[in-house]
Symmetry: C2
Subunit: 349 residues, 2 copies
Amino acid sequence: MIKPIGWTDDAVVLLDQRLLPGREVYLELRTVDEVAAAIRDLVVRGAPAIGVTAALALAMEADQLPDDPDEFLRGLAEAGDRLTAARPTAVNLSWAVGRIRRLAARTIADGVERVRERLREESRLMYHQDIEINRALGRHGAALVPVAGRVLTHCNAGALATAGYGTALGVVRAAFEGGNAVSVLADETRPFWQGARLTAWEMQHDGIPCTVITDSMAGHLMQRGDIDVVIVGADRIAANGDVANKIGTYSVAVLAREHGIPFYVAAPTSTIDLQVASGAEIPIEQRNGDEVVIVNHQRIAPAGVGAAYPAFDVTPSRLVTAIITEHGVVRAPFEEGLAGVCLAGASAE
Amino acid sequence: MIKPIGWTDDAVVLLDQRLLPGREVYLELRTVDEVAAAIRDLVVRGAPAIGVTAALALAMEADQLPDDPDEFLRGLAEAGDRLTAARPTAVNLSWAVGRIRRLAARTIADGVERVRERLREESRLMYHQDIEINRALGRHGAALVPVAGRVLTHCNAGALATAGYGTALGVVRAAFEGGNAVSVLADETRPFWQGARLTAWEMQHDGIPCTVITDSMAGHLMQRGDIDVVIVGADRIAANGDVANKIGTYSVAVLAREHGIPFYVAAPTSTIDLQVASGAEIPIEQRNGDEVVIVNHQRIAPAGVGAAYPAFDVTPSRLVTAIITEHGVVRAPFEEGLAGVCLAGASAE
C-alpha cells in the first residue's frame, strides 16, 4: 500500500511527492516549521493528507512545548496557526489543528504529560481514521461508476492526497476491487503535474489502466464520447455544495455539464466547511507564477513575461451531480444533506 | 518584424520554433523531404505558415525536377503529396500545394524553365500576400476588440504561425497599433507550449502586455470576469463554420459560451475548406503520446503509462461568435458568408 505519511518517535515522515514518480524519498521532519514548509512546498499535498500531517506535527511539537499548562496551550495554538497559514484553501488543515487543540484544552487538567500522550494517540487515530473514511467513501462511490466506466479525474485525489487509499481514486479503487473493469483518464494537471506524476503512478501501482492527457483534451474526449464519468476530490466544500478544488476543476465541471456527463466530488466530511455559506467566501491561494513557467528547472516562457497561478477554483454546486462522503452520497439540495453527513462525521470523532 | 520563414537561391529558411524563446536558430532546408520533416517535427507550425513553406519548398524542388514537362509535373505532384502528408489537419498545406500545381499545369506549355521562374515568383507572392492578408484581417478584427480588452488566446496564431503579423495575434496587433490598450492572456498550450513560448515571445517583442496561464485556468478567469474576448486561429474551417484548431480550443469555446464571452476565430480564406461540409469530416492528427509525457527531455509520467495526443479538436459553429477573414467578418449563418469570402479570396489570387 502507498504510504505518503508516517512517523517515528520524534519525527513526521513524508514521502517527497515533488520527486515522484522518479524517486521515492522519505523526509524526516522534526519541527512544526519544517512541516509547515513541507506543506507549503508541496512535499505533501491533498486536503486530507495535509490535515493528518498537521495533526502529527502538532503532537510531535507538543513534546517540545513547556510543561506549564497555559504556556503549553499557547504554544500549541501558535504552532497550529503556523501550520494553517501554510496553505489557505484546504479546510482540513484548520479542521485537524482544531481537533488537536480542542482535545488538549479539554484534557489539560489531567496534566501536560498526559495531554502529550493523548495528542500522540489522537493524531495516529486520525491517520487510521482517514484511511477507513476513504474505504467507506470508496464503497459508497463505487456504485456510481458504470461497468467498465471510463473515469476522468483531475489532479490527484488518491492515496498520496490522503493517509491512504484516496478519495476520488478511492472510489476508482473500490470499483476496481469490486470487479468493475474501470479505466482512468488522468488530466496531467498543470503546473504541478499531479495527474501525470501521481495519479498515473498510483494507478500503475494498483494495475488500474490509466492514460494521461493534457488538461486541454478533456473537452474533446467528452465530445467524442470517451468519458463516462468525472470524479474529483475537494479542498473545501461550502455549506451550499460549492466545491473548491485544484485549478481546472471548474472547467472540467462546465464541460461535463455540456456533455451530460455526471460530475462527482469525493471528499471526507472533514473537507466540508459549514462555516462558509458559499464558494465566494473560500480563499483561493495565489502561488508564484514562476511555478507555471519554470518546468524541470528550465524557463518555458521568455524572461520578463509573467504568469498567474491561482491554485484552486470554485465549482458551483449546480454543476455537481453528487458529493460522495464516508457517510453516504449527498445530492441537491446540498445544504441539508451536507449538514446531515457532517453531524454523522462529528459524532464519529 | 518577426520572420519565421525565408529563402535563399536554393533553400527554404525556417526559424526553428522548437527552440524559442531560448534560442533563435534558422535552418536552411534544401529538399522537399527535409521541409516535410521540418513541418512534421514542428520546426514550423501554424496553418498559414506551413502553407507558405510548402509553396516555397515546391518552387525550390522545381529546380531539381526533370526538364521533360510530363516528368516535371509528375515530380511536382509527388513532392506536393509528400508535403501534404506531413500534417493532415491544416488545409493550408493542400491549398498551397494545389495553387502551385495548378499554376504549373496551366503554364507548362511555356516550357519548364519558365514554369520554374513562375513558381519561384508565385511562392514569394504567396509569402507577401499572407502578410497582407493578415494585416487586412487584423483591421477587420480590431473593431471587435473592446477598449483595453483582455484577450484570451490559445496556442499561437501569431507572426510565427504565418508569414508574418499573425491571424489572432494580428487582430491583437492591429488593435494595439490603433491605440487600444489591449492585453493578452496566453494559454500555455500543452504539450508544445505554443502559448508560453511563442505567443508570449511575440507579445513581448511588440510590447503588448501578456500573462501566461495554464490551459486549466481559463474557466476560472472567465468566472472571475477577467477575460473580455477570446480570439484564436484555425487549422481548417468547414463550410458550415465548424473550426478545427489546436487541441483545447473546443474547451475554451464551451467556457466562453458559458460565460457569455465572444469567441472569435481569425483565419485567412485559405483556411476555409468548402469541400468539407462539417467538422466531422476533418481529419484529426493523432501524434505520439510521448510528446505529452516527455517534457524537456525528461519523462513526467511513470514509464509504462501512456498518453493520448489528439493534436486538434473541432469547435462547432454554434459556439463561434464570428470568423474574421481578410475579406470581412462572417457571422452565422456561416455557409453563405464563408462561401462569399472564399469567392472574394479566390478572385484575389
